[in-house]
């Protein structure tokens, strides 16, 4: 039995709506227990903004937009650089990741990510010929524009500093190379060199990051888990694990959830998965993961079914963007990787992330639809 493409496109919208509602529920309950209402109000506003942009981007003509891929790339650079400009950029917890828009803030790396994916899809689709000659020795020369853009983007994001987003951007790049049928030897070589670079970066990077890795390694070795000290570097992961452990099978319910009572910092954003795990238990976590898996599988099936390489690359790239956010966030919550600040798509509090993710879904559906129509048109012409 083959599921129709149209059904997959529709299911993407429904899954996103369900996820957004789940997020709203969690943020609302966190807010009420923290005696404030700011987050839930802001999130609701951003949802409406996102819906508007969703409609715009689901009707935009993507092939015409391709002409703008290079100017967009420049726009992405400007946006990324803007966070360093005093007055425009906003610094939170000594990271300047946000652009100040009056009462709202906008995380520039989110936008840059989508722009870069668009550019990569455009580039790979345009230069189909070079994809066949992608051995390591040709690679740098043939893929220079993409590598250059990626380098600039990752560099700027790294200096925000936001290592995790930089890493995700790089993973997206690798994954797109993979589905673009670049030689596996090339991909392996790049991966190995980047892993070495990463180790160097961590060892020379800021001390807080190094400390996090050290304590995480200790944790993996089975030590230091039960220490209760608010200054220790393993504080957040431990709190997350405590919350999850106490969820058990069906969870404690939103009334009895304790992690959101300021035990778990960033309960409404980075660690919202732990809140869900505590309040709705193993069942709740699994249901959420299944929704995400459905979302991703639908997404990549659409990418598979798209005939036009540009659409296929675009859908897959945006899919990767969402997938890696989910994977990194959940992995942090269950302490499979060290603590880092990545939001959970559609659920975490964070307007710009929600907006960009919605736009990504809109573009995915838009691309899939256009591909179908173009195919039908083509068949019609041949006929």
């Amino acid at each position: 039995m083959k599921i129709s493409t149209k059904f997959l496109e529709d299911s993407l919208i429904y899954i996103c709506l369900i996820l957004i509602l789940i997020g709203l529920l969690l943020i609302g309950s966190i807010d009420s227990f923290q005696f404030k209402s700011r987050n839930i109000i802001m999130q609701t506003i951003w949802i409406f903004v996102s819906i508007v942009f969703f409609f715009i981007f689901s009707h935009i003509h993507l092939q015409r937009l391709r002409i703008l891929s290079f100017p967009l790339l420049l726009l992405g650079l400007i946006v990324l650089a803007a966070v360093f400009v005093p007055g425009i950029g906003k610094t939170v917890n000594s990271s300047s990741r946000w652009i100040n828009l009056g009462k709202f803030t906008f995380q520039s790396s989110n936008l840059a990510k989508v722009i870069l994916i668009f550019y990569m899809a455009h580039f790979f689709a345009k230069n189909q010929d070079i994809l066949d000659r992608s051995e390591p020795r040709y690679f740098l020369r043939n893929f220079f524009p993409v590598i250059f853009a990626l380098g600039l983007y990752i560099g700027l994001i790294y200096f925000e500093p936001d290592l995790s987003t930089a890493g995700i951007l790089f993973l997206i790049f690798l994954s797109m190379l993979f589905i673009a049928k670049v030689k596996l030897s090339t991909i392996t070589l790049i991966s190995v060199s980047v892993i070495i670079m990463l180790v160097v970066l961590i060892s020379v990077g800021p001390s807080y990051r190094r400390a996090r890795y050290v304590s995480f390694m200790k944790f993996l070795a089975g030590k230091e888990v039960k220490v209760q000290d608010h200054n220790d570097t393993f504080f957040q992961p431990r709190e997350s694990l405590i919350a999850l452990s106490n969820g058990k099978l069906t969870g404690r319910g939103s009334e009895e959830g304790k992690a959101k009572l300021y035990y778990l910092p960033f309960a409404h954003s980075d660690y919202i998965f732990s809140i869900l795990g505590e309040e709705y238990g193993f069942v709740g976590s699994i249901v959420l993961l299944l929704f995400y898996l459905l979302l991703l599988l639908s997404c990549f099936t659409l990418a598979q079914r798209a005939h036009n390489p540009f659409y296929s690359f675009l859908i897959a790239g945006l899919g990767f963007g969402i997938a890696y956010n989910i994977i990194v966030n959940v992995a942090v919550a269950v302490s499979l990787i060290p603590s880092t600040g990545v939001t959970l798509p559609f659920i975490s509090y964070g307007g710009s992330a929600l907006l960009i993710d919605s736009i990504a879904i809109a573009v995915i559906i838009n691309a899939s639809k256009r591909d179908r129509y173009e195919r039908v048109e083509k068949e019609f012409q041949y006929a």
Binding site: S175, F178, I179, K181, V225, K226, L241, I242, L244, S245, N246, G247, K248, L249, R252, E256, K258, L261, Y262, Y263, L264, G277, G281, F282, S285, I286, L289, Y292, L293, L296, L297, F300, T301, A303, Q304, A306, H307, N308, P309, S312, A316, A323, I327, V330, A331, V334, L336
Partner: protein, 660 residues
Amino acid sequence: MQENNGRISSIKVIFILVFCVFIVRLFSIQLLDVYGFYNNYQRYKNKKNIIPAERGFIYDRHGTALAGNKKLYKLEFCPKLIKWEKIDSLSTVDRGIVYDEIINTIAQNTDKSREELAERISTFEEDFPYGFELVTQIDAAQKDRILRALKDQGIHGVLDYKQKSERVYPKGNLAGPLIGFYEYDNDHALCGIELVSNNELTGQDGWSEVIQYGTGDDYHFDDMPLQNPISGKSVYLTIDAHLQAILEKNLIHGIEEYDAKGAIGVIISPRTGEIYAMRGINRDYIGSSVRAGHTLPIYPINWQYEPGSTLKPVTALIAIEDNIYHANDIIDCRTRKIGGRTISDVKPLQYLTFKQVLSKSSNCGITRIADNIQPYKLYKTLTELGFGHKTGIILNGESAGVIRHPSKWSKYSLHSLAFGQEMTVTVLQLAYAYAAFANGGRMLQPKIIYKIEDDEQNTIFEPKTTVVRQVSNLWALDTLRTYLKAVVDEGHGVGTKLGYISVAGKTGTGEKLDPEGGYLEDAYITSFVGFFPVEDPQVVMAIMYNEPNYDHRYGSISAVPTFRKIVEEMIVLPHNDILYIANEANREYVLVPECIGKSVKEACRLLVEHNINFTSFGDGDFVVDQFPKPGVTMLEGSSIILQAGFQILTQNYKDANLTQ
């Protein structure tokens, strides 16, 4: 792009595998609890926060607070919450201005200096943006002044918290040792009423279930269980704060004037056994701190001494009771020698009547009387009057005094006991013995608690007047009372004689016992115990000085003047009917004079002479009739009615009855 299928499919498989890893991981964390975090944290159990109950107050009999509570507050400074209504967002400069205003306001209202506050802010500002203590232990008034001043200026960011409660004694050291002392910090009652009534004064703490937040704060929500605290009960003492103040003032005055080491005064009611005022003052502790003053021993119940002559009435009472002597029997009061012991008086005396033996306080005379009474009866009467055992007052640290059983007496003991040696008493015992003299022989249980009220002001306990036993008989005591009145009227107690009130009592001058045996040289204990008004005694008062200087070594020139001053001051107190009762008792009966036929002017002069008021009606210069009629007895001060008319009509109306 069908050729991509293979790689995208493998990506899908990879993602499915990753999600499987997540599911396994979640299974191990959430269901297997591999780290042992489940139910291991206090935060998952709601905490009960104790709401401390307020300790009960201690009042005097008229409701004047003697012990209460003060709430202390602390102010926290929250740099993050600082706001100034005049400016929306504060720049660094504005921030400085606001900080200065806050510092100034607080410095004006507390004892903290500006520099101290500024230093505190600069030290903690960075590390504690959500609040740190700025000033602690300020009272409600200071807190309100500061917060109001800041509010008027539109400055936000200084928050107040209740810190703790503190026990306060609004009257300072007044009745200090009696009230005792309570430490709020340790929840520890040290002594006095605070200790003996601790159960009543202590309230029942309440609790509220709270959710513990990660910030360290506790929050109670409306739907969570809550038990309100029940405040401690209020204890009303029988003490009269005014009287207590008068007593203490005069004792201190006396100590200074007579250069005494200490003084003790007790004022009680012979009718109910209530203690109106009671204080022992040690010269070394005058003007000490509240804590020191409140933790001293209660000397009136604790300090024992040889009472001396104040005990002579007991011997006299037995003589009266057994009809051995009568008021005018002559007694040989010359210096006498018994065995190796010479008994003499300060001023050598010759022969005195029985009544004079008491008023002149003759040692020789009283020993002659003692010779004729049964020794055991003296012991029995002394014991019945409460000597040698505790009065049963609820306070801690009471002394029983010492009195030996007749089987252990030496040949001198009878005479010694007759004038108050070879035994020790407390001032309170003495006062209650005299109360029995005053009230017809009823030995009363000392009463210090007037009533106990719960937090809704319902009286839940009101001790009854308890008569412990009956001593002697009414007739003998009435006689004794007239003798004691004579002491004041013509004897050593003459210093307390007041025109408007009749006082009875007995002076006492005792040599002070040497702890190493015998008596100290030139160390005296002087005392006066008396009651008034004699006709219907309302008050018994005992005054004692410990080692007044040589010039004031007699009770009649140290204790007696103090007694008199206290009486003079206390009878004008509010809530006091002593003077009224005394006047009622002293009023005499007069015969109504003949006014009929006299001119109104003449009748008026006549009635004023007889101390009779009158009202008149009718025109004319002559009294034509009166009611009551002449020759009737009536209380002086009451009034009669006169009818005025003309002389001619006098005869006609002479027998008319005005009452018709």
